[in-house]
Structures are given as structure tokens and as C-alpha cells.
Symmetry: C2
Subunit: 302 residues, 2 copies
């Protein structure tokens, strides 16, 4: 185990990975207001929307509008999820800074999510990556179900290495490893990262934990011990779990910031501003979010 | 860091540390039913009530009734919190198996909670410990605010060592270290345990984490890395935080069991039975508890 890093980058995925799980449509203006608020918190990376077909994610049907109407800060990367060449065209036209492609480490989830086998998914992503790179955009690769799959059970770390190698070979600059269903524990994260770091450098990897079973923060600490310095999180812990209604989603940005700052790890992000934005998000959605820090703030105010 | 232990003991404190924070009185029969259910889950230690004066904790005014009417299992230790000699008399008369005494590592919290300085508290606890030992009962010592105090800020680990030494000198068999306000992070737990383990063996210590800011599970993993094998938790995550209404309380027993079992660490406790008991507790209290596993179970049932 190495000493903890002194600086960590937070990749805010709330506007995309968080909101895509909300049933009731959120007004485009409210999405833009959220992203504009996030742009003033010190974050330097925000995944703002998804160009997956609106048939699959109606909540993010306004992707172009959102991307075109947010106030851009020059030091912030505004990224969007892109499933295919058609989506890439729209994303590039709307002025995306970075493109995220995605697939799963497990056949069952990949099939359920993308309707293709893992090996049949690579050519589709290859096309997106080539197109994005040709347009001068960097590409991030999400790998889902890196710990376990709702269909196939535990994922073999070697399968994650296999998918990551293919993505890097395409020209992806970073891979984000997702515990999509939020089942992982530190020993599993340790096994995964031990295997991954035989092939890749810590800077090539980001970790993406869901807090469905309360283990996200512990898994992040284990990842820090492996030298990982990039983490995805969502303001308020937005996101939910498609497999259990009402269960927690992404690890909350403010809970992650609390952990890191108390550990003496810099992020450049203002915890207080994030907390206030999360409280406003609760009001907008009309429900309590799962973030612990928001619960404390709510209690202090009452 | 040592390898993770293979077996851990859970000390269930929900009926005491959990329920004492509930405002609305819970019927004695319901408390007894809860404890009887817990007795069938594989737990071998349950803190069932408190003999603090009912003026301070009206919720547990029925301590004698509870202790006398639960169905005792011979392999389970039924413990109760005892503040002074008067409380000890009642606890012994009611047939308690083990006595817990308590104080804080910080002057501010000790003063607020016990209305005495730390040094003036020792003689009172000494009397309780002597009385309990004379009656053939073992004694557990709680030390509160081991990471930080709501009045005094961060706690110096040396102050925790000082209080623990005094308690062990009295004849306490185990000390439970409480992050009472749930602010701790792994680096702080690491610093505390590094200091404590210079003086004491891991078997002499239990850790008692509140999940107020979502760090309890991570702190438990850090404690496991130090060889700690005893953890306090409360079914459902009962407990709340007196400093922030609605915030999370004790780490939930079922969330802790999930972590440990997935890490391959034995507890002897049936996670499914604990989860079912927590769901019934939610119905009884008429509100959602903060446990992540309960949220998943709720979602799967809906």
C-alpha cells in the first residue's frame, strides 16, 4: 500500500448519471441552473448529459439544449455520454469537450444494456473514439459491473483488464471502473486494482462507486491506498439503483469531499457550495437525497 | 497493517444506544419482542437497556421490566448501561450479565453529559466497577468523543489512552471507543489506534462508529487493518444524532454484516434475519431507518 495521495480530482456525474434515473422530467432550465451552479464550486470536470437515444433515457432528451446553454468556464471540462456515431455527431455539434463511451465487463449486463456481446461492442465504440479523436476531443471509457453483475455474479478482474486494454488500444485516455450495482467491498476493490495496476498506471484509472450497500466510501479509501486519484461522484448522491427502488445511487460528492478534506487531501472543490447546491436539488426534486452531509445540513437547519 | 481478521464479534447496541434517541415512547412489549428477535439471529452480545435515571432518558425508564422479561439465551451476554451505584443496584437486581460504564475523552462532552470533569468522573465509575466485579459481573467501558468533541474540537489520542488506562486499572475488561458525533475519517482512526495499540492489545478494544457523515464503514475497515475484532452497531442504523435531527446514528448492523461477510469475515450472525428485524422496526417506528441494506430490501419488496 502506498501513502494516500495529496490531491484528488472529482468528476461530477450528477447531471448525467444522477438525473438519468429520475422519473419525473426535470425542466431544461433547472438542469442548466444546476450545472451553472456546479461550475462555480471549484469542480473542473462535469459530465453534463447523455446522447443515448431519448427513447432509452427520456430525461436527457434535452442534451443539445443543455450543452449549448450552460455558461462555460474555460478551466472546466464539460463531458457527455455517447453511445454511437449518431450520438457523437449530435454531441460534437452541441460543443462537447470530452466524450464518454461505455460498456460492461460482464456479458450479461452488456447484453442487457447495449444488446450486444462484449466483443461485438468494441467496433461500435471504436468508431465513436476515432470520430471524437479526429474532432480533437479526448475520450473517457466507462466499464460497468467491474465487481459484480446482476446477471452473471462476480466479475473476474481479468475480464476488466481485457476490456480496459481494448479501450486503451482504441485511444481512450482514461477508464472509469464502475461498481454499477453497488455491491463491492474493499477486499474486492483491492483484488481488482491489484490486477489492473499490473497493466496500467493509477493516472489512467478513475473509480466510480455506487453506495447502494454503504461501502462506497470504504472502497474509495482502498482505491486511494492504491494511488488512484480520480473519482466519480454525484451531488446529493443522486442516481438511485435500477434494481432496488429508493436505494442509494452514486456516492455523494459532498460525502466524498468531506472524507477527502478531513483526510488532508486537496480537491479544489468548495464543500459548502456543493452542500447548498444539493439542498436546492432536494427542493427541486421534492424528496430527500441519500447524502449523509445533506442529512446533517437539513438537521442543523431545522 | 496486518491481514484482516477472519472472525469478528458484533455487539448489538440498538435496543439501548439506538432506542434512547427515539422521542416517542416504545412499548415495553415491543422492546422485549425486538430483543427476543435479536436473540435468534446468532448475535452473542446485546446491550438491552440503560439504568441512567429516567429523568434523562425517559425512553428507557422500563429498564428493569425489559431485562426481567426477555427470553434469555445461555450463550448471549445481555448488557446494560450503568451510570452510578444506584443504577448498578437496579441492574444487578434485574439480572444484568455485563455492566457498561461510560465517560468521554474530552472535557467538554464529559461535562455536558455527566456534569463532572474527567478526573472527577473516575471515582464514580470506580465504585460501579468494584460493585459489579464483586457481584461477579464483567464490566465494559465506553469512551465517547475519541475522534472529536462537539465542544472541544479534535481529541488528542493521548487523552483517549489516558482515560482507557484509568478504566483498565479499575478492572474494566474491554473499552469501546466511540466516534460519538460521527465525524471521523480513516486517517484519524489510524492515528488513534496506532497510539492505543502501543499500550493495549486489539482484543481489549471495540470500536463504536456513528455513520453521521458516511464514514463508519471505512473507519471499520481501517480498524480491521489494525486487528480490531469487536464492533458496536445498531440494527437499522437506529440512533440519530443529537446534534443534527434526522442525521444517521450508529452504523447499521446489517450494513456491517454485509461488509464483513462479503470480505469473507465470519460473524455467526444471520444477515437475512437482521434485515427482516430491521424492516419490522421501521414499521414499528413508522419511519425509514438510515440503513442501506434496509433501503435495498424495501426497494426489492416494492
Amino acid at each position: 500500500m502506498m501513502p494516500f495521495p495529496t490531491k484528488v480530482q472529482i468528476k461530477e456525474v450528477g447531471p448525467r448519471d444522477g438525473l438519468q434515473n429520475e422519473k419525473a422530467f426535470i425542466e431544461t432550465a433547472d438542469k442548466i441552473a444546476l450545472i451553472d451552479t456546479l461550475s462555480g464550486t471549484g469542480l473542473d470536470y462535469i459530465e453534463v448529459t447523455s446522447f443515448v437515444h431519448p427513447k432509452w433515457i427520456p430525461q436527457l432528451a434535452d442534451a443539445v439544449d443543455v450543452l449549448q446553454n450552460i455558461k462555460r468556464h474555460k478551466d472546466i471540462t464539460y463531458a457527455a455520454l455517447v453511445p454511437n456515431s449518431k450520438g457523437l455527431e449530435r454531441a460534437l455539434a452541441a460543443g462537447v469537450d470530452e466524450v464518454s463511451v461505455f460498456m460492461s465487463a460482464s456479458e450479461g449486463h452488456n447484453k442487457a444494456n447495449i444488446n450486444k456481446s462484449i466483443d461485438d461492442t468494441f467496433p461500435i465504440l471504436q468508431e465513436v473514439v476515432e470520430g471524437a479523436l479526429a474532432a480533437g476531443k479526448s475520450v473517457r471509457g466507462y466499464i460497468s459491473t467491474v465487481i459484480a453483475c446482476p446477471h452473471d455474479g462476480y466479475t473476474n478482474p481479468e475480464q476488466v483488464v481485457y476490456v480496459a486494454e481494448k479501450l486503451f488500444a482504441m485511444g481512450v485516455s482514461e477508464v472509469s471502473l464502475g461498481d454499477t450495482i453497488g455491491v463491492g467491498v474493499p477486499t474486492q476493490v483491492d483484488a481488482l486494482l491489484t490486477e489492473m495496476l499490473k497493466q496500467f498506471r493509477p493516472e489512467q484509472l478513475a473509480m466510480h462507486f455506487h453506495d447502494t450497500r454503504g461501502t462506497a466510501i470504504a472502497n474509495i479509501v482502498t482505491s486511494l491506498q492504491h494511488g488512484i486519484t480520480k473519482f466519480d461522484s454525484a451531488i446529493g448522491g443522486l442516481g438511485g439503483c435500477p434494481y432496488a427502488k429508493g436505494a442509494s445511487g452514486n456516492v455523494a460528492t459532498e460525502d466524498l469531499l468531506y472524507l477527502l478534506h478531513e483526510m488532508g487531501i486537496e480537491t479544489g472543490v468548495d464543500l459548502e457550495k456543493i452542500k447548498q447546491a444539493a439542498l436546492r436539488m432536494e427542493n427541486l426534486l421534492g424528496k430527500q437525497l441519500s447524502s449523509k452531509l445533506v442529512a446533517v445540513a437539513r438537521g442543523e437547519e431545522s
